[in-house]
Amino acid sequence: MKIEFQVNGKAVNVDIAPTARLTALLRDVLDLKGTKVGCDAGDCGACSVIVDGAICCGCLVAVGQLDGAKVTTIEGLGNTAAGARLADAFLRHGAAQCGICTPAMMVSAAVLLDQSARPSRRDVEGALGGVLCRCTGYRKIVDAVLDASADDENSAPALTPQRRAAVGHRLARLDGLAKVNGTEVFGADYVPDGAALVRVVRSPHAHARFTIGDLRAFKGDHSGIEVILTAADIPGHNLHGVIAPFADQPVLAETVARFVGEAIAIIAGAPNCVTGLDLSAFPVTWEPLEPLQSPAAACDDQAPRLHAGRPGNILVEGHVERGDITRGFAEAAHIVEGKFTTPYVEHAYIEPEAGYARRIGERIEVHACTQAPHMDREALALILGVETEAVRVVPSACGGGFGSKIDLTLEPFIALAAWHLDRPAYIVFTRGESMRASTKRHPSEICARVGCDASGRVTAMDFDGVFNTGAYASWGPTVANRVPIHACGPYFIPHYRAHSQAVHTNGPTAGAFRGFGVPQAAIAQESLFHDLAETLGMDQLEFRLTNALDNQQPTVTGQVFAEGVGIKACLEALRPAWRRESAAAREHGHVADGSTTRRGIGIGTCWYGCGNTSLSNPSTIRIGLTATGQIVLHQGATDIGQGSTTVISQIVADALGIGIEALDLVGSDTDLTPDAGKTSASRQTVVSGTAALRAGEALRGMILRQGNAGSDAEITLANGTLSLCEDGIARVIELANLETNPHGYVLEAEETYDPPTTPLDDRGQGQPYSVYGYGAQIAVVSVDMLLGTVKLERLIAAHDVGRAINPLLVEGQIQGGIAQGIGLALMEEYIPGKTENLHDYLIPTFGDVPEIESIIVEVPDPRGPRGAKGLGEHVLIPTAPAILNAIRDATGARIRQVPATPARVRAAIEEAWEND
């Protein structure tokens, strides 16, 4: 059908199926890729566009409905004054992290600004409430929109930092512009011409044996299918896993599928045919097997083994023991205990997995949204049966990862298809597919017991955690190892025993998700600490200060830090807010005042080791100087929105002593950037940052030596020449006379840093991390006693980051982490088969994240670059326990199972009343 309408003021005349979605028309036909697709169902709002003045979801508009309409997209917004103001404000406020939601936020905000000159905070929340953001926690977006609406010109312009002062500067992210003007290229935003589309046939069963039928007939019946690949067609090993010794996951299952959504075959061919294929007609016979539903069922003696060599379906057990807990509990005056349960939690990044691959001779190139390009490269080489050097992985912009985009998902499929077809192949997961195929946060069942003496000193803690690691290993070993080290929280506990198990079931594979099991453990530990303080009648903050770990005190693994332990500083920083909010809560709430709501406050804390647990995890950074005086920073740390590109550049600029604008950035690309490890475990600032600092210092040394200059000489790069200035005398260095190395540089520094750790012994004693970061948060809630609904009034977060390389990005991490912590506490529960979409799987919206007060604490750590510690995961750990403790404070109800849905809170309130 012919359809005529306008996009961004230009007439469009297309012949297209009238029921195609507007998003497909914009993206695939008109090549306007700024409008994103996160769900195709109205739930995420990433596809927001303006149709005849009204904001709507492009994925819900049939193009037949457009006849004569005027459509405005992010691409059209750039030319307007409001668009420019919004773009500027979003940049300055750090309102875009990964940027996948940003075009929709801006377009929605533009409609609001058009209708109301001075909107209120509530108006902004209402107008943008239909767009989900998983990274920012929304507050900075609201700030940016309010700022853009302000007619006064007092909004501070983004300043470029002074030389040698990039570290500590609230620098807008260096990769921000493309995010706010909609030109950023995410996984689905570039497809080479003529590429084949890949689709994946997946198991509808949690556990089933299968036999594949007549593929030739199926192919014959569907013109357009060019190739169907099954396990038998994999040239190398049909096996992968993020931790090599535990690799157990087939790319395509061979005879048995172990979870709903496991891939058994891929189909590639002409996009217009493959896209509409009914995959339920794929020739396969299923013989359903009894699925292992829970760790308890899996540990049963009679239970079938999911993997050879893992008796009891136990993947890994972790153990840390210090002192003598029998003695510790004997010394206790008060003991509390509890059993805590957490569900599968979905990462719910707004960008479903997408990318393309192409074969170039005997090499394969994969362009996809990944957090771990070098790991992908090695894994893909094994799968394809080629040398590592034959694989190039170029991460696209990543629309949120939070741990899940470390594991392979789409990469092998597009690589295999492109390899077989010798032509580019691409894939874009649907939302449902993304949720079924990707890893999750481990569900946990934790039993813990804590005792303290009469003065409030914790004497002993005992902890047993069972983590459902799902069908395959993924990061299960990491969770099992990290949890016992961290389950004590940032406290000194003389007698301690913690044991963890990662157990296989036929559930979704559980992997890395911001915190590797520590957020689950913190719920148990902080809840019990709250209950202990309550039993003692001791102030919650003072109780934690009494027990907080200090310099020179051994951790539960016996590690002693001479400096840099920052939990006390965080708690002290919270004290004014704690006093203020305690008083306010007493006034509002604990007495019946006719209202049905009660106010309460609670504390949660965290500590978190940065980098891999007791394992080598080096990062390498290269910086080169060209003959024309350009300084090129090769940094392979993928920036998934958290800001590593910016932070590492800040460190390098100061180390070199040049302005940050003088750096040319070469982004992550396994052909161009040395391995900076994966973006996880809060390691990029600390580990890659240290490598960057050393590389910067090394190159500075080389440059100074060229001119025999002293260490204080100033390096100036201008118009292709480099000069050194010392004592008022400038000297030009003739770069053109220097020899160029194979990388094209006349001078080059490459430095590797691997944080020093030691393995843990059988009692879990050793030095698992070189640096820990610390934090503490206060939640203020109002609970509706009759309906059980929890409204967050405010969160106050104090995080010790050692040194805030970029305070703007630090705040962004804090707010975004808190939003995910809110989801964990109150609404998120992934149930396979039931909540496989963003309609039923709820993540916080604009209205669910309250005002957040961030307090940045800086207790420098000598082992971090410029004193910095990691932060990415720390930020979500304290939130859920703080909220649960606040609910307890408000209502007397103890929530032991998250999410604390209205029904669960109400039931806990009733139980508390019965026990009264």
Binding site: S108, G129, D840, G847
Partner: protein
């Protein structure tokens, strides 16, 4: 430009301009009606559209709200944003409050009131307020029109009384039942874009002495189709419209509902919440008492 990435589909689609044209098409084939698409597209999941589509969005004269002799008339293409923006008497407050709670602005701008009824979800936010207004659904085919009460139109989960060849053309609210003031309260697990765990609408009219002369109360998401609480309504008649009256709404009044257990909440919780929501909806009908849960209750900050 790469149209080859779109699915090849051979499919019929019509977007008639007049109701007559639409009805004659409907008489001839098995069409799926498409309005705002906010239920239609998500319902496809990942499948392409294959059914013949009758897109009603271009039909003249079906969008908007007007008032004639006996009725307020809501055209079938009226979207939730139109309801929010309309100047309506206080008896429609519940419907307007519900409109603000439907999804997000993006959804409200496309989703139609009629589509909400036709989709027949037990959690449709539009149903309880329309029930509390004694609204009639006008169903039209080439053979003519018939009027059905909301509970005679929505028959069950995803079931309506629409016969082949029929579409909804209008929703009528009798002037006689658009007296008084109404209020809507929704309970969900997050702030925006959330399907109701339960919701209630109430409408109350009073005489000069402040005594209740008419009461209409309905509860949604606690049975396959939202239900009126006739017993409670009867008991309220003649009572003074005061906070004390609210205590008349008890667990017994909702005991006849049949909520289900699902991932949003267990049935028992829904029942308990329903009684409380009814009290809050009622309190929202009393002057000077704003319902606690109504999300867009103007705050000092909000200009709305």
């Amino acid at each position: 430009m790469d149209p080859t990435r779109l699915p090849d589909i051979d499919q019929s689609y019509a977007r008639p301009r007049s109701i007559g044209e639409a009805l004659s098409l409907l008489a001839t084939g098995d069409w799926t009606v498409l309005a705002g698409g906010t239920d239609f597209f998500p319902g496809l999941r990942d499948r392409p559209v294959t059914a013949p589509i009758l897109d009603v969005t271009a039909i003249d004269g079906l969008r908007g709200i007007r008032c004639d002799g006996a009725y307020w008339r809501i055209g079938a293409l009226t979207c939730w944003s139109d309801i929010i923006a309309a100047d309506l008497p206080p008896a429609f407050q519940a419907l307007q409050q519900a409109a603000r709670e439907v999804g997000s602005v993006q959804i409200q701008n496309r989703a139609t009131v009629a589509g909400n009824l036709c989709n027949a979800s037990p959690a449709a936010d539009g149903v309880p307020p329309l029930m509390a207004l004694d609204a009639k659904v006008v169903v039209t085919s080439q053979a003519g029109s018939r009027q059905l009460a909301v509970d005679a139109f929505v028959l069950g989960n995803r079931k309506t009384a629409l016969a082949p060849g029929e579409i909804v053309t209008e929703i009528l609210v009798p002037k006689s039942t658009s007296r008084g003031i109404s209020s809507f309260v929704k309970l969900g697990a997050r702030r925006y874009m959330v399907i109701s765990i339960a919701m209630a609408a109430a409408r109350i009219a009073t005489d000069a002495q402040g005594c209740i002369t008419a009461a209409a109360i309905s509860v949604g998401a606690c049975s396959a189709v939202a239900r009126r609480l006739r017993g409670l309504e009867d008991r309220l008649i003649g009572q003074p419209a005061t906070p004390a009256t609210l205590a008349l709404a008890t667990a017994g009044d909702v005991a006849g509902l049949s909520p289900i257990d699902d991932s949003r909440a267990p049935a028992a919780y829904r029942l308990g919440a329903a009684a409380e929501l009814v009290r809050r909806a009622l309190s929202g009908c009393l002057p000077d008492l704003t319902p606690v849960l109504s999300a867009d209750t103007p705050s000092e900050e909000s200009g709305r």
